[in-house]
C-alpha cells in the first residue's frame, strides 16, 4: 500500500508528538542515571571498586560495600525465576492450548488479580503466613532430608533468601503468565492445524510448533518477570531478614539492593551515607541494564536460530 501525500499537516504534528514521547522516555532514563551518578559520586570515588566488592555496611564508621546486597538481589531473583518460569509458562500453555475457553477465562482473570495485589500485601502475607509456615513445617523437614548440604544449613528462621525467592516467584508468576498467554495466543492456528494434520500429539504440537514460534515472546515475558524480581522492595525486605551478610544457605537471612535503599534512605544522616545509598542505586541500575542487554542478545540469538 502506498502512503497518501501529506495534505493537512496533521501527520507532521502526529510525527512530532511521537518523537517527543520517544525522546521523553530517553530523557527520563538519562535524568535518573545522571542524578544517581552525581549523588553517588562521593561514595563511588571514595570506595572505588571496593564499593562493589566491599562486605561491610557500617553507617557509623561510614564504611560502605555493596556486595552482600548485590548477592542477595541476584540470588533471590534467580530463585524466583527458577520457580516462576516453569509455572508461569506452564499455566499460560494450559490456558491457551489445553483448557476450554471458559476455564481459560476464569483462570486468566484470577492470574490478573494476582498481578494486581500491592506488594506490601504480599510482604505482610509473607511475614505473617508464609514465613511461619516455612519455619514450622517446611524448613525442619528439608533439613531432615538434606541436613548435610550447606544450601540448607543454619537454624530455620522462616525468613531468608529462600523465603524471599519463593515470595518473589509468586509475585512474578502472574507477570510471566499474562504475557506468555498473549504470546501463545498470537501463534496462528494454521500452524497448529498443520501439525495436527501430520498426526502430531498435543505435546508434539506445543513443543514442535507453538514454542518455536513463540520463543522470543516467551523470553520477553521472562525478562519482564526478572525486572519485577530485581526491583521489588517492600515484599522482599519483609521476608529476607535484612542481615548484611553473604551466606550459601537458602535459610540464612540476607539483604537486597532495593531493600537497603528503601530501609535507610529516609534516615540517612550524612552526605556520604546518602551518597552510598545512591551508589547502591547505581549498582542496581547497572545490574538491570546488564541483565536486560543479555536477555535481548538471547532473544536475538533465538530469533535467528529458531524461526521456522
Amino acid at each position: 500500500m502506498q502512503a497518501r501525500p501529506n495534505t493537512s499537516g496533521a501527520d507532521t504534528a502526529f510525527h512530532a508528538t511521537l518523537v517527543l514521547a520517544g525522546l521523553g522516555v530517553v530523557t527520563v532514563l538519562a535524568g535518573v542515571a545522571w542524578e544517581l551518578l552525581s549523588l553517588s559520586g562521593e561514595a563511588l570515588s571514595k570506595g572505588g571498586i571496593g564499593f562493589i566488592t566491599g562486605m561491610t555496611w557500617d553507617p557509623v564508621a561510614e564504611e560502605f560495600g555493596a556486595l552482600p546486597a548485590l548477592y542477595g538481589t541476584l540470588v533471590t531473583s534467580a530463585l524466583a525465576l527458577l520457580i516462576a518460569v516453569p509455572l508461569g509458562i506452564g499455566s499460560a500453555v494450559f490456558m491457551s492450548e489445553i483448557a476450554s475457553s471458559r476455564v481459560a477465562t476464569v483462570v486468566g482473570v484470577l492470574v490478573d488479580l494476582l498481578a494486581a495485589i500491592p506488594s506490601v500485601i504480599y510482604g505482610l502475607w509473607g511475614l505473617f503466613v508464609l514465613a511461619p509456615l516455612l519455619r514450622e513445617h517446611v524448613q525442619p523437614g528439608v533439613q531432615k532430608l538434606f541436613g548435610e548440604l550447606p544450601l540448607f544449613a543454619g537454624p530455620p528462621l522462616g525468613v531468608g533468601y529462600g523465603t524471599a525467592g519463593l515470595l518473589l516467584a509468586i509475585m512474578v508468576i502472574p507477570v510471566i503468565t499474562a504475557v506468555s498467554r498473549e504470546v501463545l495466543r498470537a501463534v496462528p492456528d494454521t500452524q497448529r492445524e498443520a501439525a495436527y494434520a501430520l498426526g502430531a500429539t498435543p505435546f508434539e504440537v506445543i513443543r514442535g510448533t507453538v514454542f518455536p514460534y513463540a520463543r522470543s515472546g516467551l523470553v520477553g515475558a521472562v525478562v519482564l518477570g526478572l525486572g519485577r524480581a530485581l526491583g521489588e522492595t517492600m515484599a522482599v525486605t519483609m521476608v529476607i531478614g535484612n542481615r548484611y551478610d553473604i551466606s550459601a544457605s537458602l535459610f540464612a537471612p540476607g539483604y537486597t539492593l532495593a531493600a537497603v535503599i528503601a530501609n535507610e534512605f529516609t534516615e540517612a544522616f550524612s552526605p556520604h551515607y546518602l551518597s552510598a545509598l545512591a551508589g547502591l542505586g547505581v549498582v542496581l541500575l547497572g545490574t538491570t541494564l546488564i541483565l536486560n542487554a543479555a536477555a535481548r542478545l538471547l532473544v536475538r540469538g533465538v530469533r535467528h536460530g529458531g524461526a521456522g
Binding site: P59, A61, M238, E267, S275
Partner: protein, 350 residues
C-alpha cells in the same frame, strides 16, 4: 550535593503547594513541617485541634523520617523540621544560620521478649542488654540473665535478636542507651539511626520487629513505647542508674525527662537515656522540632511560634491518650525561653 538537595526540595515544595492549594483558603497561613515519623500522630492531632481554634492557620506535617526532616530544614524547603535524634555539629554547620531544637514530646523504647516458658516479667540490666545485642550472651539461661531474675526458671533456649532494618529514631534512642551502659558497644557499633548490627534479624518498622518477636520463641527486640503499649506485647523491665528495674510506661518516661532536666544544655540537644531519678525509665529520648532562630517572613514566624507555644502547653494534653509522654514542666519552661528567643528581621516574634 547542594544542587541535588535543592532539586529534591523543589519537588517537595511543589507537591506541598499543590496539596495546600486544593482547599483554596486564600487567607490562611500555611505552615509546612516535615520529619520524624514518630511525631506524626501527635503533629496531625495538633494540626486538627489547633486548626479548630485557629482556622487561619493550616499546619501540614509530612512524616518523611528524621533524616529527611534535617535535610529539608537545612534546604529551607519547610518552615519546621522534626527529628528524634539531635542534629550533629556538622549538620548545624551545614545549615549556616542557627537552628533551634525545641523538644515537643518524648519517645521511649520498650524491650519486647518472647519466652513461652516464662510468665514473669524479666528484669534486664543495661550491660546484659548490650551483651545480648553484641552477640556475647546467646542463651536465655546465661548466668548474667539469671543473676537479676532470681526465682525465674530460664529455659536453655537460643536468643534470637530482632532489630529495625529501616533507619529510625527508635533505633537511635536504643543504641544511644546501649552505648552509654556498654563501652564495648560504643567502640564496636556506635550510635546512629542505622548501625552495623553484630547479630540478629532486621525487620521493617515497629510492626515488623513486633511480628518477628511474636513469631519466634526465644526472640528479643525493641519497639517504640507507643507501639508496645498499643499492641500489648510482653516487655522486660530495664534497670535505671538508681538500680531500680522499671517497666516502660508514659509516667516513667516523663520522670526520666524530669530527672535529666536539671542538666539540660543550653541548646537542648541532649540525650536523656540512662537518666537519673527515681522511677525513671532509662531508654527514652526527646523528639524535637527544628526551626531557624532568625526568621525572614514575619507572618510565618508568628504563626509558627504560636503553634509551637500552643503545642508545648495545651498540645501536651493530647500526649497521654496517644501514648506519648508529656513534657515535664521544667522542660516546658525551657521551651518557652527558646520560642521567645525567635526573631524576625531582628525583632522578637513573641
Amino acid at each position: 550535593m547542594k544542587t541535588t538537595m535543592n532539586g529534591f526540595g523543589i519537588t517537595v515544595v511543589a507537591i506541598a503547594m499543590v496539596m495546600l492549594a486544593v482547599p483554596g483558603m486564600a487567607s490562611a497561613q500555611n505552615l509546612t513541617g516535615a520529619g520524624a515519623t514518630f511525631q506524626y500522630p501527635l503533629q496531625s492531632k495538633w494540626s486538627s485541634e489547633y486548626g479548630k481554634a485557629h482556622p487561619e492557620v493550616r499546619v501540614n506535617y509530612q512524616s518523611i523520617g528524621s533524616g529527611g526532616g534535617i535535610r529539608q530544614i537545612t534546604a529551607r524547603t519547610v518552615q519546621f523540621g522534626a527529628t528524634d535524634g539531635p542534629m550533629s555539629n556538622e549538620q548545624l554547620a551545614e545549615a549556616k544560620d542557627p537552628i533551634l531544637h525545641v523538644p515537643v514530646t518524648l519517645g521511649a523504647v520498650a524491650v519486647a521478649v518472647n519466652l513461652p516458658e516464662v510468665t514473669k516479667t524479666l528484669d534486664l540490666t543495661g550491660v546484659v542488654l548490650a551483651d545480648i545485642f553484641l552477640g556475647k550472651i546467646t542463651r536465655w539461661n546465661d548466668p548474667a540473665i539469671s543473676a537479676t531474675n532470681k526465682g525465674v526458671v530460664l529455659p536453655d533456649r537460643a536468643i534470637a535478636v530482632a532489630h529495625r532494618s529501616d533507619g529510625s529514631g527508635t533505633t537511635y534512642i536504643f543504641v544511644d542507651y546501649l552505648a552509654k551502659v556498654s563501652p564495648e558497644w560504643k567502640n564496636k557499633v556506635g550510635v546512629a539511626t542505622s548501625v552495623n548490627w553484630p547479630v540478629g534479624l532486621g525487620a521493617k518498622g515497629n510492626e515488623g520487629v513486633a511480628g518477628t518477636v511474636k513469631q519466634t520463641p526465644g526472640a528479643i527486640g525493641y519497639v517504640e513505647l507507643t507501639y508496645a503499649l498499643q499492641s500489648g506485647i510482653p516487655t522486660a523491665r530495664v534497670q535505671n542508674p538508681a538500680g531500680e528495674f522499671v517497666a516502660p510506661s508514659v509516667d516513667a518516661v516523663t520522670k526520666a525527662a524530669a530527672g535529666a532536666a536539671a542538666n539540660l544544655p543550653e541548646d537542648l540537644r541532649v540525650s536523656i537515656t540512662n537518666a537519673p531519678g527515681a522511677g525513671a525509665y532509662p531508654i527514652s529520648g526527646f523528639s524535637w522540632v527544628l526551626m531557624y532562630l532568625q526568621q525572614q517572613d514575619c507572618s510565618i514566624a508568628s504563626a509558627l511560634v504560636k503553634y509551637l507555644w500552643w503545642g508545648v502547653h495545651e498540645g501536651q494534653a493530647f500526649s497521654t491518650p496517644l501514648h506519648y509522654a508529656p513534657l515535664p514542666a521544667s522542660v516546658v519552661s525551657r521551651c518557652e525561653a527558646k520560642l521567645k528567643s525567635v526573631t524576625c528581621n531582628g525583632s522578637p516574634v513573641l
